[in-house]
Amino acid sequence: MEKQNFKGWLYLIPAILFLGAFMIYPLIDVFIYSFEEGYNSASQTYLGTGGYNYSYVLRDPYFLQALKNTFILVIITVPVSTILALLISIGLSSVKPLRNLFQTVYFLPYVTNTLAVGLVFMILFKKTPYSDGLVNLLINAFGGSSVDFIDGPYWAKMFVLCFYTVWVVMPFKILILTSALASVNQVYYNAARVDGTGSFRIFRKITVPMISPTIFYLVITGFIGAFKAYSDAVALFGTDLNAAEMNTIVGYVYDMLYGDSGGYPSYASAAAILLFAIVLTITCINLLVSRKHVHYTG
């Protein structure tokens, strides 16, 4: 027993060293930074320790804006993308002809560069002197008036950001869910049909519980991914996100470090630690909820 333990640890050493150097150590470092008040990056000195960085960040309107944006993004995109992906996967699993073609089409956004996708969205949504963008053309065709999605009202920009995020994260979810659906043994569906089960009840009572570990995995990683969103906003609205009111928490951290208003590693650290705390809390809640609703079967 002892020996086996020893061996186990031996195998873990490379991973532990790696994680220690590139994750644990920086994390602790950031944690320490976040409590150092009045840090001067030129002289690498600080005035004292305390919670001032946190109270500054929490009162910074840019941070509050970023916090609000991030929460809206998370609350809208995670459920929408997961449910849409589930519906599309079910559709994909029930068509026979051209299934592979459809699967490839749905997977394309995943292998496409974020910025290139951003460009496509520009064409769809951006108002230029020459065109109002495809979406506005559609709106006009139905008798509505043009909306500036990129430089216009807050809700329009938020809509585009959510739309974009959903579109970018869906392919991966569809991929994972189609394989999860394919792994459900057909015999359960047969049993349910012989027992007179309607198709919606089969979906709710058999399909969903059977793939619940996969759904749960996608929700957890979806939450974490959405909380860390940044590049999507940049792809759509450029680098000055504060001005566009479209900043996210990670964007705020970046701006505090390297942006035009940057050079404040202490504030950036405090914001990063706050984000860490939020993600940790949400993940814990997810885990608790999952205990009741996720069925792991051997």
Partner: protein, 368 residues
């Protein structure tokens, strides 16, 4: 409720794309299953037993032919409206539901007038669980049950909606030998109690013979013989059926008929009247051998296997298709084990003749 299969046929497209041929999984199956009987559907693996069940329960659509439940044509009815209970080979219990929820599942599907109240549901679930004696396991998940218990849950789930037809697809094949014996008695008891018309699929002839009112022997998608187990055993229509039923299996010899006498090699073993001279296959049941000092069949003595009540004599003969002949004789018999040769007479009722080519049975008259 009686079930009528009328020229039921199911063909699957061939998996081999170059050949356009089809696989006939079930061919021209005609049979009327009487109300309240237990029918054993018997045949080697791949002979179309599961396909037949799936046709009856509606999971598969027949290529040709019709299915009637009572007087109703159900051929085009989807499975959810046929009201049959089906027990799958690997049980197909929903792994995320407890035993209680599994059994209750079919009841929750009932809609409209058939919809049950909470109390009625609990009552029905309890009754079904009691019938298969699993009342104590209701809150467990299927993964926490033994194979035999899972199997009972599957039967309870199939019975709880009080189906008019119960279909069992090799329900015992995942159980160990002792449990298999016990559970087949159980299935027989439940069937007698509920009087549900039941089709029981198995590849084990012992199982089918022991509990069925009628057995249907299938081969390569086609029905070979239908009848009461004893009748089929005593009167097989062809060599396949004769070989498939009985343990130990029937002994098959190459022989010939000449002048009303049946020859195995040079031994004239039996008088067979009404058969023209020809070459035949001869099947002799293990219990069809009589140990006689002056018996006509000369076999080379192999060994004795004592089985308590009986003795099994293992011997060889050049005319026998298999390496050894197995004959069962009463334990009291005096057997001279020192001799090289053992001599048998044959009981005419246990000897069957078959055509060399078609393997169909050739009947003969026994001279008194």
């Amino acid at each position: 409720m009686k079930i009528v299969l009328d020229h039921l046929t199911k063909k699957f497209p061939s998996r081999n794309k170059k050949e356009r041929s089809e696989v006939t999984a079930v061919g021209d199956f005609c049979f009327e299953i009487p109300d309240g009987k237990l029918v054993g559907l018997l045949g080697p693996s791949g002979c179309g037993k599961s396909t037949t069940l799936n046709l009856i329960c509606g999971l598969l659509k027949p290529t040709e032919g019709k299915i009637f439940f009572g007087d109703d044509d159900v051929t085009n009815l989807p499975p959810e409206h046929r009201g049959v209970g089906l027990v799958f080979q690997n049980y197909a219990l929903y792994p995320h539901l407890t035993v209680r929820k599994n059994i209750q599942f079919p009841l929750e599907n009932l809609r409209g007038e058939a919809k049950l109240t909470r109390e009625e549901m609990d009552g029905r679930v309890y009754a079904a669980a009691k019938l298969v004696q699993i009342e104590g396991l209701m809150e467990r998940k299927p993964s926490e049950l033994s194979g035999g218990q899972q199997q009972r849950v599957a039967i309870a789930r199939a019975l709880v909606k009080m189906p008019k037809v119960l279909l069992l697809d090799e329900p015992l094949s995942n159980l160990d030998a002792r449990l298999r014996l016990q559970t087949r008695e159980e299935i027989r008891r439940i069937q007698k109690e509920t009087k549900i018309t039941t089709i029981f699929v198995t590849h084990d002839q012992d199982e089918a013979m022991s509990i069925s009112d009628l057995i249907v022997v299938m081969k390569d998608g086609f029905v070979q013989q239908i009848g009461r187990p004893q009748d089929v055993y005593d009167d097989p229509v062809n060599l396949f059926v004769a070989k498939f039923l009985g343990t130990p299996p029937i002994n098959v010899f190459d022989g010939s008929v000449k002048d009303g006498r049946l020859y195995i090699g040079d031994d004239a073993v039996l008088q067979v009247d009404g058969v023209p001279d020809r070459n035949v296959h001869i099947g002799v049941r293990p219990e069809g051998f009589l140990l006689r000092e002056d018996g006509p069949l000369h076999c080379r003595m192999g060994r004795l296997e004592v089985m308590g009540r009986d003795v099994s004599v293992v011997s060889t003969h050049p005319g026998c298709q298999s390496d050894t002949i197995r004959s069962i004789i009463p334990a009291e018999s005096n057997i001279n084990t020192t001799s090289d040769i053992v001599r048998f007479a044959l009981k005419p009722g246990k000897v069957f003749l078959f055509d060399r080519v078609t393997e169909a049975r050739i009947s003969f008259d026994v001279r008194a």
